[in-house]
Symmetry: C2
Subunit: 233 residues, 2 copies
Protein backbone atom coordinates (compact mmCIF):
# COMPACT_ATOMS: atom_id res chain seq x y z
CA UNK A 1 0.00 0.00 0.00
CA UNK A 2 1.68 3.16 -1.18
CA UNK A 3 0.51 6.63 -2.02
CA UNK A 4 2.71 9.37 -3.46
CA UNK A 5 1.85 12.88 -2.28
CA UNK A 6 2.37 16.17 -4.08
CA UNK A 7 1.95 19.83 -3.16
CA UNK A 8 -0.87 21.42 -5.13
CA UNK A 9 1.54 23.68 -7.05
CA UNK A 10 3.53 20.63 -8.24
CA UNK A 11 0.61 19.27 -10.25
CA UNK A 12 1.34 19.72 -13.94
CA UNK A 13 5.06 20.31 -13.35
CA UNK A 14 7.79 17.83 -14.35
CA UNK A 15 9.21 15.81 -11.42
CA UNK A 16 13.02 15.74 -11.45
CA UNK A 17 14.60 12.28 -11.31
CA UNK A 18 16.58 13.23 -8.19
CA UNK A 19 13.35 13.75 -6.26
CA UNK A 20 12.75 10.95 -3.73
CA UNK A 21 9.26 10.45 -5.13
CA UNK A 22 10.56 9.95 -8.69
CA UNK A 23 13.00 7.36 -7.32
CA UNK A 24 10.14 5.70 -5.48
CA UNK A 25 7.82 5.64 -8.50
CA UNK A 26 10.44 4.22 -10.88
CA UNK A 27 12.59 2.23 -8.45
CA UNK A 28 10.42 0.88 -5.64
CA UNK A 29 7.08 0.77 -7.47
CA UNK A 30 8.76 -0.15 -10.77
CA UNK A 31 6.42 2.00 -12.86
CA UNK A 32 7.17 2.62 -16.56
CA UNK A 33 5.68 4.87 -19.22
CA UNK A 34 1.83 4.69 -19.19
CA UNK A 35 1.72 2.92 -15.80
CA UNK A 36 -0.41 4.34 -13.00
CA UNK A 37 0.08 4.61 -9.25
CA UNK A 38 -1.87 5.90 -6.22
CA UNK A 39 -1.34 9.62 -5.71
CA UNK A 40 -2.78 12.58 -3.90
CA UNK A 41 -2.44 16.28 -3.25
CA UNK A 42 -1.50 17.20 0.32
CA UNK A 43 -4.72 18.33 2.02
CA UNK A 44 -6.50 17.74 -1.28
CA UNK A 45 -7.89 14.87 -3.30
CA UNK A 46 -6.63 11.32 -3.78
CA UNK A 47 -6.69 9.17 -6.92
CA UNK A 48 -4.38 7.90 -9.65
CA UNK A 49 -1.40 9.38 -11.43
CA UNK A 50 -0.05 8.20 -14.78
CA UNK A 51 3.57 8.28 -15.93
CA UNK A 52 3.23 10.10 -19.26
CA UNK A 53 6.92 10.18 -20.14
CA UNK A 54 10.32 9.45 -18.63
CA UNK A 55 13.02 11.90 -19.72
CA UNK A 56 16.73 12.11 -18.94
CA UNK A 57 16.19 14.67 -16.18
CA UNK A 58 12.57 14.40 -15.14
CA UNK A 59 9.33 12.49 -15.52
CA UNK A 60 5.98 13.90 -16.59
CA UNK A 61 2.84 12.86 -14.77
CA UNK A 62 -0.86 13.38 -15.27
CA UNK A 63 -3.40 13.12 -12.49
CA UNK A 64 -6.93 11.84 -12.05
CA UNK A 65 -7.79 12.76 -8.45
CA UNK A 66 -11.45 12.26 -7.52
CA UNK A 67 -11.58 11.04 -3.91
CA UNK A 68 -12.38 13.63 -1.26
CA UNK A 69 -10.58 12.35 1.85
CA UNK A 70 -12.36 12.12 5.22
CA UNK A 71 -11.62 14.70 7.91
CA UNK A 72 -9.07 13.96 10.62
CA UNK A 73 -10.30 12.94 14.08
CA UNK A 74 -11.09 15.86 16.42
CA UNK A 75 -8.21 15.00 18.74
CA UNK A 76 -5.66 17.68 19.57
CA UNK A 77 -2.46 16.33 21.04
CA UNK A 78 -0.23 18.36 23.36
CA UNK A 79 3.12 16.64 24.02
CA UNK A 80 6.13 17.73 26.05
CA UNK A 81 9.18 18.14 23.82
CA UNK A 82 11.39 15.08 24.19
CA UNK A 83 14.53 13.80 22.54
CA UNK A 84 14.34 14.21 18.76
CA UNK A 85 14.21 10.43 18.12
CA UNK A 86 11.16 10.24 20.36
CA UNK A 87 9.46 13.20 18.71
CA UNK A 88 10.11 11.74 15.24
CA UNK A 89 8.17 8.61 16.17
CA UNK A 90 5.36 10.66 17.70
CA UNK A 91 5.10 12.87 14.60
CA UNK A 92 4.77 9.87 12.34
CA UNK A 93 2.66 7.56 14.51
CA UNK A 94 0.17 10.14 15.80
CA UNK A 95 -0.25 11.43 12.23
CA UNK A 96 -0.85 7.92 10.91
CA UNK A 97 -3.57 7.44 13.54
CA UNK A 98 -5.36 10.56 12.33
CA UNK A 99 -5.18 13.26 15.03
CA UNK A 100 -5.93 16.72 13.67
CA UNK A 101 -3.22 18.62 15.52
CA UNK A 102 0.03 18.11 17.43
CA UNK A 103 1.59 20.76 19.69
CA UNK A 104 5.07 20.06 21.04
CA UNK A 105 5.50 22.21 24.14
CA UNK A 106 8.35 23.14 26.46
CA UNK A 107 7.98 21.60 29.92
CA UNK A 108 9.90 21.93 33.18
CA UNK A 109 11.38 18.45 32.88
CA UNK A 110 12.19 18.66 29.18
CA UNK A 111 15.65 19.94 28.20
CA UNK A 112 15.88 23.35 26.49
CA UNK A 113 18.02 21.82 23.74
CA UNK A 114 15.06 19.70 22.58
CA UNK A 115 13.43 22.78 21.03
CA UNK A 116 16.49 23.73 19.00
CA UNK A 117 17.12 20.30 17.45
CA UNK A 118 17.46 20.28 13.67
CA UNK A 119 14.23 18.28 13.70
CA UNK A 120 12.52 21.62 14.38
CA UNK A 121 14.94 24.24 13.03
CA UNK A 122 14.97 22.63 9.59
CA UNK A 123 11.80 21.39 7.93
CA UNK A 124 12.70 17.83 8.93
CA UNK A 125 9.62 17.53 11.16
CA UNK A 126 7.38 17.86 8.11
CA UNK A 127 8.96 14.81 6.47
CA UNK A 128 7.85 12.62 9.40
CA UNK A 129 4.34 14.03 9.23
CA UNK A 130 4.13 13.31 5.50
CA UNK A 131 5.39 9.76 6.17
CA UNK A 132 2.51 9.31 8.62
CA UNK A 133 -0.02 10.60 6.07
CA UNK A 134 1.41 8.26 3.41
CA UNK A 135 1.28 5.32 5.87
CA UNK A 136 -2.43 5.99 6.42
CA UNK A 137 -3.00 6.13 2.64
CA UNK A 138 -4.60 9.52 2.72
CA UNK A 139 -3.79 13.18 2.07
CA UNK A 140 -4.84 15.18 5.13
CA UNK A 141 -2.08 16.76 7.18
CA UNK A 142 -2.50 17.53 10.88
CA UNK A 143 -1.59 21.01 12.08
CA UNK A 144 1.78 20.97 13.87
CA UNK A 145 3.20 23.58 16.24
CA UNK A 146 6.27 23.46 18.45
CA UNK A 147 8.31 25.44 20.91
CA UNK A 148 5.35 27.10 22.63
CA UNK A 149 4.95 26.78 26.39
CA UNK A 150 2.58 24.31 28.01
CA UNK A 151 0.56 27.26 29.34
CA UNK A 152 0.03 28.76 25.89
CA UNK A 153 -0.95 25.35 24.51
CA UNK A 154 -3.47 24.77 27.31
CA UNK A 155 -4.99 28.22 26.84
CA UNK A 156 -5.35 27.53 23.11
CA UNK A 157 -7.53 24.50 23.96
CA UNK A 158 -9.88 26.40 26.28
CA UNK A 159 -12.84 25.50 24.08
CA UNK A 160 -12.15 21.77 23.74
CA UNK A 161 -15.14 19.74 24.94
CA UNK A 162 -13.03 17.14 26.78
CA UNK A 163 -9.57 17.86 28.23
CA UNK A 164 -7.39 15.06 29.51
CA UNK A 165 -3.78 14.89 30.70
CA UNK A 166 -2.09 11.51 30.99
CA UNK A 167 -0.29 11.09 34.30
CA UNK A 168 1.07 8.02 36.07
CA UNK A 169 1.24 9.51 39.54
CA UNK A 170 -1.83 11.45 40.58
CA UNK A 171 -4.57 10.22 38.25
CA UNK A 172 -7.53 8.40 39.83
CA UNK A 173 -9.19 7.45 36.55
CA UNK A 174 -8.04 5.25 33.69
CA UNK A 175 -8.25 6.93 30.29
CA UNK A 176 -11.07 4.56 29.27
CA UNK A 177 -13.18 5.78 32.20
CA UNK A 178 -13.13 9.39 30.99
CA UNK A 179 -16.23 10.49 29.06
CA UNK A 180 -15.03 11.09 25.51
CA UNK A 181 -17.82 13.52 24.69
CA UNK A 182 -19.00 13.92 21.13
CA UNK A 183 -17.12 16.94 19.83
CA UNK A 184 -13.42 17.44 20.49
CA UNK A 185 -10.74 16.08 22.81
CA UNK A 186 -7.48 17.72 23.90
CA UNK A 187 -5.02 15.09 25.14
CA UNK A 188 -1.85 16.25 26.94
CA UNK A 189 1.23 14.11 27.68
CA UNK A 190 4.35 15.23 29.52
CA UNK A 191 7.92 14.97 28.39
CA UNK A 192 9.81 11.72 29.04
CA UNK A 193 10.18 12.55 32.73
CA UNK A 194 6.52 13.43 33.24
CA UNK A 195 4.83 16.50 34.72
CA UNK A 196 6.21 18.70 37.50
CA UNK A 197 3.96 19.56 40.45
CA UNK A 198 3.44 23.07 39.09
CA UNK A 199 2.45 21.67 35.69
CA UNK A 200 -0.12 19.35 37.28
CA UNK A 201 -1.53 22.39 39.04
CA UNK A 202 -1.64 24.30 35.77
CA UNK A 203 -3.37 21.38 34.02
CA UNK A 204 -6.04 21.26 36.71
CA UNK A 205 -6.54 25.06 36.54
CA UNK A 206 -7.16 24.66 32.82
CA UNK A 207 -9.74 21.93 33.52
CA UNK A 208 -7.66 19.01 32.29
CA UNK A 209 -8.65 15.76 34.03
CA UNK A 210 -5.73 13.52 34.97
CA UNK A 211 -6.06 9.97 33.65
CA UNK A 212 -3.68 7.02 33.40
CA UNK A 213 -3.09 4.04 31.14
CA UNK A 214 -2.57 1.47 33.89
CA UNK A 215 0.21 0.91 36.41
CA UNK A 216 3.07 0.27 33.99
CA UNK A 217 5.11 3.36 33.00
CA UNK A 218 5.35 3.55 29.21
CA UNK A 219 7.67 5.41 26.89
CA UNK A 220 6.18 8.68 25.67
CA UNK A 221 5.77 7.39 22.11
CA UNK A 222 4.07 4.20 23.34
CA UNK A 223 1.73 6.23 25.57
CA UNK A 224 0.82 8.51 22.65
CA UNK A 225 -0.26 5.57 20.47
CA UNK A 226 -2.00 3.76 23.34
CA UNK A 227 -3.81 6.94 24.41
CA UNK A 228 -5.07 7.77 20.91
CA UNK A 229 -6.15 4.13 20.41
CA UNK A 230 -8.20 4.18 23.63
CA UNK A 231 -9.85 7.49 22.64
CA UNK A 232 -10.67 6.19 19.13
CA UNK A 233 -11.89 2.76 20.25
CA UNK B 1 12.44 5.96 36.83
CA UNK B 2 15.04 3.26 36.47
CA UNK B 3 15.35 -0.31 37.62
CA UNK B 4 18.44 -2.47 37.17
CA UNK B 5 17.72 -6.15 36.55
CA UNK B 6 19.87 -9.15 37.42
CA UNK B 7 19.66 -12.86 36.72
CA UNK B 8 19.06 -14.85 39.91
CA UNK B 9 22.52 -16.47 39.76
CA UNK B 10 24.18 -13.03 39.64
CA UNK B 11 22.96 -12.11 43.12
CA UNK B 12 25.92 -12.15 45.52
CA UNK B 13 28.48 -12.07 42.69
CA UNK B 14 30.69 -9.05 41.91
CA UNK B 15 29.56 -7.01 38.90
CA UNK B 16 32.44 -6.23 36.55
CA UNK B 17 32.90 -2.55 35.68
CA UNK B 18 32.64 -3.30 31.95
CA UNK B 19 29.08 -4.58 32.44
CA UNK B 20 26.52 -2.11 31.03
CA UNK B 21 24.64 -2.18 34.32
CA UNK B 22 27.75 -1.21 36.32
CA UNK B 23 28.26 1.71 33.90
CA UNK B 24 24.62 2.66 34.36
CA UNK B 25 24.73 2.48 38.18
CA UNK B 26 27.92 4.53 38.48
CA UNK B 27 27.67 6.73 35.39
CA UNK B 28 24.02 7.45 34.64
CA UNK B 29 22.60 7.04 38.15
CA UNK B 30 25.76 8.49 39.74
CA UNK B 31 25.72 6.06 42.67
CA UNK B 32 28.70 5.86 45.04
CA UNK B 33 29.65 3.57 47.90
CA UNK B 34 26.69 3.00 50.29
CA UNK B 35 24.16 4.49 47.84
CA UNK B 36 21.06 2.51 46.89
CA UNK B 37 19.14 2.09 43.66
CA UNK B 38 16.05 0.25 42.43
CA UNK B 39 16.82 -3.33 41.45
CA UNK B 40 15.15 -6.64 40.73
CA UNK B 41 15.71 -10.23 39.76
CA UNK B 42 14.39 -11.19 36.34
CA UNK B 43 11.10 -13.03 36.94
CA UNK B 44 11.70 -12.58 40.67
CA UNK B 45 11.35 -9.90 43.30
CA UNK B 46 11.93 -6.13 43.13
CA UNK B 47 13.41 -3.82 45.76
CA UNK B 48 16.63 -1.97 46.52
CA UNK B 49 20.30 -2.74 45.95
CA UNK B 50 23.19 -1.08 47.80
CA UNK B 51 26.65 -0.40 46.41
CA UNK B 52 28.82 -2.03 49.11
CA UNK B 53 32.18 -1.35 47.50
CA UNK B 54 33.66 -0.09 44.25
CA UNK B 55 36.86 -1.90 43.24
CA UNK B 56 39.24 -1.45 40.33
CA UNK B 57 37.61 -4.26 38.34
CA UNK B 58 34.16 -4.74 39.79
CA UNK B 59 31.57 -3.46 42.24
CA UNK B 60 29.96 -5.40 45.06
CA UNK B 61 26.25 -5.10 45.67
CA UNK B 62 23.85 -6.28 48.34
CA UNK B 63 20.13 -6.69 47.77
CA UNK B 64 16.94 -6.15 49.72
CA UNK B 65 14.22 -7.45 47.39
CA UNK B 66 10.78 -7.72 48.97
CA UNK B 67 8.19 -6.81 46.34
CA UNK B 68 6.44 -9.67 44.61
CA UNK B 69 5.64 -8.30 41.15
CA UNK B 70 2.14 -8.65 39.64
CA UNK B 71 1.52 -11.21 36.91
CA UNK B 72 1.62 -10.18 33.28
CA UNK B 73 -1.66 -9.65 31.42
CA UNK B 74 -3.15 -12.82 29.87
CA UNK B 75 -2.58 -11.59 26.33
CA UNK B 76 -0.66 -13.78 23.91
CA UNK B 77 0.57 -11.93 20.87
CA UNK B 78 1.22 -13.64 17.53
CA UNK B 79 3.01 -11.37 15.04
CA UNK B 80 4.22 -12.01 11.53
CA UNK B 81 8.00 -11.67 11.31
CA UNK B 82 8.86 -8.27 9.85
CA UNK B 83 12.03 -6.29 9.28
CA UNK B 84 14.34 -6.47 12.31
CA UNK B 85 13.90 -2.76 13.15
CA UNK B 86 10.14 -3.31 13.30
CA UNK B 87 10.46 -6.41 15.46
CA UNK B 88 12.84 -4.63 17.85
CA UNK B 89 10.19 -2.01 18.55
CA UNK B 90 7.50 -4.65 18.97
CA UNK B 91 9.65 -6.66 21.40
CA UNK B 92 10.24 -3.61 23.58
CA UNK B 93 6.85 -1.92 23.36
CA UNK B 94 4.64 -5.01 23.73
CA UNK B 95 6.80 -6.11 26.68
CA UNK B 96 6.51 -2.70 28.33
CA UNK B 97 2.72 -2.94 28.00
CA UNK B 98 2.70 -6.26 29.86
CA UNK B 99 1.68 -9.04 27.45
CA UNK B 100 2.64 -12.48 28.73
CA UNK B 101 3.90 -13.94 25.47
CA UNK B 102 5.06 -12.95 22.00
CA UNK B 103 5.35 -15.39 19.08
CA UNK B 104 7.00 -14.13 15.92
CA UNK B 105 5.81 -16.36 13.08
CA UNK B 106 6.70 -16.89 9.45
CA UNK B 107 3.96 -15.71 7.09
CA UNK B 108 3.44 -15.89 3.34
CA UNK B 109 4.09 -12.18 2.87
CA UNK B 110 7.06 -11.96 5.23
CA UNK B 111 10.52 -12.49 3.74
CA UNK B 112 12.41 -15.66 4.69
CA UNK B 113 15.45 -13.56 5.61
CA UNK B 114 13.55 -11.99 8.51
CA UNK B 115 13.85 -15.19 10.53
CA UNK B 116 17.64 -15.40 10.12
CA UNK B 117 18.42 -11.82 11.17
CA UNK B 118 21.03 -11.47 13.92
CA UNK B 119 18.18 -10.14 16.05
CA UNK B 120 17.10 -13.78 16.35
CA UNK B 121 20.28 -15.78 15.71
CA UNK B 122 22.14 -13.98 18.49
CA UNK B 123 20.51 -13.25 21.84
CA UNK B 124 19.91 -9.65 20.75
CA UNK B 125 16.12 -10.11 20.95
CA UNK B 126 16.38 -10.67 24.70
CA UNK B 127 18.03 -7.26 25.20
CA UNK B 128 14.95 -5.52 23.75
CA UNK B 129 12.66 -7.57 25.96
CA UNK B 130 14.69 -6.65 29.06
CA UNK B 131 14.53 -2.98 28.00
CA UNK B 132 10.73 -3.26 27.91
CA UNK B 133 10.67 -4.83 31.38
CA UNK B 134 12.95 -2.07 32.73
CA UNK B 135 10.75 0.60 31.11
CA UNK B 136 7.73 -0.82 32.95
CA UNK B 137 9.68 -0.79 36.23
CA UNK B 138 9.08 -4.44 36.92
CA UNK B 139 10.79 -7.83 36.66
CA UNK B 140 8.48 -10.17 34.80
CA UNK B 141 9.61 -11.33 31.38
CA UNK B 142 7.13 -12.43 28.72
CA UNK B 143 7.73 -15.73 26.97
CA UNK B 144 9.17 -15.16 23.48
CA UNK B 145 9.26 -17.61 20.57
CA UNK B 146 10.18 -17.05 16.95
CA UNK B 147 10.58 -18.77 13.61
CA UNK B 148 7.57 -21.08 14.03
CA UNK B 149 4.86 -21.10 11.36
CA UNK B 150 1.57 -19.26 11.75
CA UNK B 151 -0.21 -22.64 11.78
CA UNK B 152 1.84 -23.96 14.69
CA UNK B 153 1.30 -20.73 16.63
CA UNK B 154 -2.46 -20.83 16.04
CA UNK B 155 -2.66 -24.47 17.12
CA UNK B 156 -0.75 -23.60 20.29
CA UNK B 157 -3.50 -21.12 21.20
CA UNK B 158 -6.37 -23.60 20.71
CA UNK B 159 -7.40 -23.12 24.35
CA UNK B 160 -7.39 -19.32 24.44
CA UNK B 161 -10.79 -17.99 25.51
CA UNK B 162 -10.84 -15.16 22.93
CA UNK B 163 -9.00 -15.31 19.61
CA UNK B 164 -8.68 -12.22 17.42
CA UNK B 165 -6.73 -11.45 14.26
CA UNK B 166 -6.28 -7.83 13.22
CA UNK B 167 -7.07 -7.32 9.56
CA UNK B 168 -7.72 -4.17 7.53
CA UNK B 169 -9.48 -5.83 4.62
CA UNK B 170 -12.08 -8.40 5.58
CA UNK B 171 -12.93 -7.54 9.20
CA UNK B 172 -16.51 -6.45 9.94
CA UNK B 173 -15.91 -5.59 13.60
CA UNK B 174 -13.67 -3.04 15.24
CA UNK B 175 -11.39 -4.48 17.92
CA UNK B 176 -13.33 -2.64 20.62
CA UNK B 177 -16.54 -4.44 19.58
CA UNK B 178 -15.06 -7.89 20.23
CA UNK B 179 -15.99 -9.44 23.59
CA UNK B 180 -12.77 -9.54 25.58
CA UNK B 181 -13.90 -12.41 27.79
CA UNK B 182 -12.47 -12.79 31.27
CA UNK B 183 -9.65 -15.27 30.90
CA UNK B 184 -7.17 -15.10 28.05
CA UNK B 185 -6.84 -13.43 24.67
CA UNK B 186 -4.75 -14.46 21.68
CA UNK B 187 -4.16 -11.49 19.35
CA UNK B 188 -2.66 -12.14 15.90
CA UNK B 189 -1.20 -9.51 13.55
CA UNK B 190 0.23 -10.14 10.11
CA UNK B 191 3.58 -9.11 8.76
CA UNK B 192 3.99 -5.63 7.28
CA UNK B 193 2.13 -6.64 4.12
CA UNK B 194 -0.79 -8.23 5.97
CA UNK B 195 -2.40 -11.66 5.65
CA UNK B 196 -2.66 -13.73 2.48
CA UNK B 197 -6.03 -15.20 1.53
CA UNK B 198 -4.89 -18.65 2.68
CA UNK B 199 -3.82 -17.24 6.03
CA UNK B 200 -7.20 -15.58 6.56
CA UNK B 201 -8.77 -18.94 5.85
CA UNK B 202 -6.44 -20.61 8.35
CA UNK B 203 -7.23 -17.96 10.98
CA UNK B 204 -10.96 -18.57 10.55
CA UNK B 205 -10.48 -22.35 10.75
CA UNK B 206 -8.71 -21.81 14.07
CA UNK B 207 -11.64 -19.69 15.32
CA UNK B 208 -9.86 -16.34 15.17
CA UNK B 209 -12.33 -13.47 14.66
CA UNK B 210 -11.15 -10.79 12.24
CA UNK B 211 -11.24 -7.27 13.72
CA UNK B 212 -9.86 -3.91 12.65
CA UNK B 213 -8.57 -0.71 14.23
CA UNK B 214 -10.38 1.71 11.94
CA UNK B 215 -9.97 2.61 8.28
CA UNK B 216 -6.40 3.96 8.44
CA UNK B 217 -3.65 1.40 7.71
CA UNK B 218 -1.06 1.52 10.50
CA UNK B 219 2.51 0.30 10.73
CA UNK B 220 2.77 -3.10 12.39
CA UNK B 221 4.42 -1.67 15.52
CA UNK B 222 1.75 1.03 15.82
CA UNK B 223 -1.02 -1.55 15.41
CA UNK B 224 0.56 -3.77 18.10
CA UNK B 225 0.53 -0.94 20.67
CA UNK B 226 -2.92 0.29 19.64
CA UNK B 227 -4.35 -3.24 19.72
CA UNK B 228 -2.97 -4.05 23.17
CA UNK B 229 -4.18 -0.67 24.48
CA UNK B 230 -7.71 -1.33 23.26
CA UNK B 231 -7.73 -4.82 24.84
CA UNK B 232 -6.41 -3.46 28.17
CA UNK B 233 -8.69 -0.41 28.27
Amino acid sequence: MNIVLFESDEIGQPLVLSDERAKHILGVLGRQKSDTFDAGVIDGKRGKATVDSIGTESISLSFDLQHEEPSLYPIDLIVGLSRPQTNRKILQEATSMGVRSLSFVTTERGEASYATSKLWTTREWRRHVVAGVVQAFTTRMPQVSFGISLKVALEAKANAEVKIALDNYEADLTLSEVDRGSDSIALALGSERGWSGAEREMLREHHFQLAHLGPRPLRTETAVVAGIAVLLR
